[in-house]
Amino acid sequence: MGLGNNKIDTFDFRKALSKSNLKGIWWLLSDYKLAYIGATLSLAFSATAKTFTFLLLKFFADDVLTNGEYIFGTLKSTLILIGSGFFVLAVIEGSFSYVSGRLAAYTSENIARRLRDFLFDHIQRLSFAYHGNTSTGELIERVTSDLDAFRRFIGEQSIGMGRIILMFTINFVALISLNVKLGLVSVIVIPFVLLVSLWFFKKIKVAYEKYQEQEAILSTTLQENLTGVRVVKAFARQDYEIGKFEKTNWEKFLRGKKYISLHSLFWPLSDIVLGFQLLGGFVYASNLAINAEITTGTYLAYVGLVVWLIWPIRNLGRLIVQTSTGLVSYGRVLEIVKQEREPLLAGKIQPDGPLVGEVSFESIFFQYEDGVQVLKDINFTVKPGQIIALLGSTGSGKTSLVNLLPRFYDYSSGSLKVDGQELKDYPRKYMRSQIGIVEQEPFLFSRSIRENITYGAHAGVTETEIIEAAKAAAVHDVILSFPDGYDTVVGEKGVTLSGGQKQRVAVARTLLKNPKILILDDSTSSVDTETEAEIRKALNSLMKDRTTFVIAHRIQSVMIADLILVMDKGEIIQKGTHEELLAIEGTYRKIYDIQTRIDDELKSEIANAL
């Protein structure tokens, strides 16, 4: 049972979609079906061995002791044989029970691992449109808790149900073979107990869910109190908070009490019913024995067997109720599996070299799936190495425009050509390998700074390359000032990077990638004056020899651009160089004027103060 057979590349979970729930689950067991069947068979063998222990007891009592005829010559040798018989049966029962448990765990853990791997890969390959509409918490809930519930369904609940049913069947057959009437008398209350236990466990499940809900409320109350400690203290509201918590705390106690009460009713009630069923069987059987309809040995075997027939039935109800939870979870996991992945490698052309960096937009329109028009009739051309600045307010379409280039989204109509080829013909993976993105507040992973810089870089990247990139990004000195230098883990032990520092780490990361096209969200507003110059330096070194798209926020950063696009409501309302746009009446000049006016106002303000 090695770990090698983890074929998630060839195993497509989406095939489970077209099938009904149980068929789909059976299909998911592929490669492990034999193990699973083995687990079930072992269960049967184990239960049979247990049953034979009691039949051996019958043999022991009847044939050996009462008749006085020994099969194996003497009493002594027969008893030694029976004694070792008990031991051997215990070994068989135990071994099969172990094998069953091990195979069940092997199956369920492997299925769970394969599903985890698949889901992880699946999620990172789902489109932006999907990620934009799904909350992280919800997704994580499904791939962790729901997946675990499904794992328990396969490895514990189904197997547990199988164990009870097999045990019942085998022991019932054994009982019937001992004496038909006795066998039937012993199971009279079973259907009734099963029904009642189903009813009870449904109620218990509801009570438990209510209890859990209150637990969640209590956690929220607690968390709000703890995070709002300043407000609580500032208004001296400790007593009020204590009262509020007391209410939720007491409610949880009451709900717990209800849940416990249900349990405390169910178990003794079923104890009485099953106890009297057992006792009735004993009395009836002893009557049969006294009337010589059955032997003493049969009576002894009966007493041993019937216990294993009756008590487990109560748990069957519980397992059946739990199973429904497992199936609901399975459905929730499938919801994710259902989503379409974006193909990374598909494309009419498969370029082998880097891009040159020429980009042209020809009447590009783009709308989201919900029909909201985001970009309208976008036209412009960029030569390799040029800088294009996009200016406009939030929602004007700047980000959507640059999101088209790495094929995060696909345009609805029009033609977008890169190096003369239609963008949609390039594989996504290739485009993304040629484009570098530096966001305003870049996302860093909670690993070392070194790993963050080399994230996405080729495997053989050297230490010198890393340090050079960091130096060019003007972040080397900052990194060295941390206690663990390049090994400092982001977000740990109080080392939090400022917005500007994060941005420069992202610049280093992008430098290492060496893309032909660069997308830059140029905001220095979250950074103080000293670092602004450093960032500017870092960005300038980054833009060199690359086609650069700058999402700009201030006139200063667009002035150097070869082409400025002023955007509004998804349209380009003005385009040209700084000088060209200044020369004509329009939004750009208005913005520029405001900036100049601000400087004037400041001068007069200060003059007044002096």
């Binding site: 009592a61 002791l65 018989g85 997704l139 349990h263 009630l269 004993f282 507003s525 405001i594």
Partner: protein, 610 residues
Amino acid sequence: MPEIEIEEEDYESQLTAPVLKRILGMIKPHWKMALGFMVSIALTSMVDSYFTFLNKEIVDKGILLSDFDQVLRIAKIYGVFIIVQSGMVFGFIYLAGILGERVQYDLRKLLFNHLQKLSLSFYSQTAVGRMMARVTSDTGRVSELVTWGILDVTWGTVSIVTSTIFMAIINWRLALIVFAIIPLMILTAVQFRKRILVEFRGSRKANSKITGSYNENIQGVRIVKALNREKENLKEFQGLTDRMFKTSYKAAWLSALFLPAVQIVSSIALGIIVGYGGLQISTGFITIGGIQAFVSYLTFMLWPIQDLARVYAEMQHSIASAERIFTMADTEPEVKNRTTAIPAKTLMGKIQFDHVDFYYEDRISVLSDFNLKVEPGETIALVGPTGGGKSTIVNLLCRFYEPQEGSIKINGLDYTDYTLESIHSKIGIVLQTPHLFSGSIRENIRYGKLSSTDEEVENASKIAGADNFIQEMSKGYDEEVGEGGNLLSVGQKQLISLARAVLAEPELFIMDEATSSVDTLTEALIQKGMENLMKGRTSFVIAHRLSTIRNADRILVIEEGKISEIGTHAELLRLKGHYYKLYTQQFRHELEVQYGVEEDPRLTGSAVSS
């Protein structure tokens, strides 16, 4: 956060007398319930052993002697005990269950109430997740120990003891064989349990890493896609799921091996007893019923041994939980009332920082020899870079912390001579990131003065400028704000927290202005609300807005724990120093926002962490 919790769970502790005493102290108030469930479970277990004995009697005295009347006589006793036992089962489930809930309730209450007293220094050193774990999971684990733990131990011990007593009564020589084997069974069981627990925790740890990895990959999906990291991420993730598989698979198969192993040990005894006993039946040394009883006793002994082993293996972790709970409950608040403290009549008086030195827990000096005198009714604006000490001044003023050296005087008296409540009840505070509690808007505003009428609440929000937007909500003042107020915008939350402060009618008003984006209209409302609030009150504002700064009576530029510049707006501009630089930068920035040039009104280096 999950990382931390796992670390804590790994922590084991031995039971010491003082901890045991305190644990028992928790059930002392409910000793009747504790005694009740222990008696119930002990009786349940004794009756179980007695049932086996009665089964033997049916065989020996009824069947073997062909005396059906005897059988009926025994069956009557049997029936009575079934009913008695059901009562006992009800008793222990109910009592132990309710006691468990009750102990949890008590512990949560104890901790929550104590947390309300603890100072901000404790809060800043302890992650919210940890505090929550104390109040939720640790209390759960301890209550589990004192109820189900004790119950299992009682049941296990009584079962083993009464079984062996009955066996000794039936045949003490054969019972000696069982005595010999019991320690061996227990030893095997404990060894297994410990190893299972190790693997189980390993899998918990792997699981939390998997969750973390999912989380990061979903949050950073844009970077993952942009850098084509899918393959490598999957490889890394497979490393995690491999580890998860190994540990949980091992835990599962060890569990599957556990019972069979113990069972095989016991079957050795079983074989010997059947063989040896069978040989002696003819001598009257033992009866058939007696052998049957031995078989039953031995077979059922597995369960108590399993439970004892489980409790023993898990106990150390529950004790570690108990220790953590006690440590937290024993933490003394750093800021508390002096025994001689008197209530402050008013805060409207001269406030003086007199040679104040202050450092936080890391002992790095934040304020050194800080001096400041403020006249009643004055408005003080605090400006300066992050980490300069602005928040610290406010924290000290609110007496969230107290100075290590020097003193803060109100009306000439050291403020530690006043009671905390009397100071806090006269302070109004509005935080940069306003904290709201789940509930309606009305409830949140009323937090400022719990006894206020609806009219007062509405008046306060009119003064704060919050009334308009509240009226526009579909449910008005009864609109729910969501968890932590997340259904409202930052600006709306700030207006509500202003209204809350207005309602409190403070004498000292403290505000940490928001740096995050608020639309212009809301911004104007907040400004007006603030001005209304500051009228006739001594106010301290960590200021980010030009108008606030300009309107202040005095401006303090705080840098490196000292006042670097102090004076009015005009005076400071004339200095052409730090203030001049800060102000011009802010001026340009704010007007850019106002004119719609700049989008992101986040301010230069002033993200005050509070």
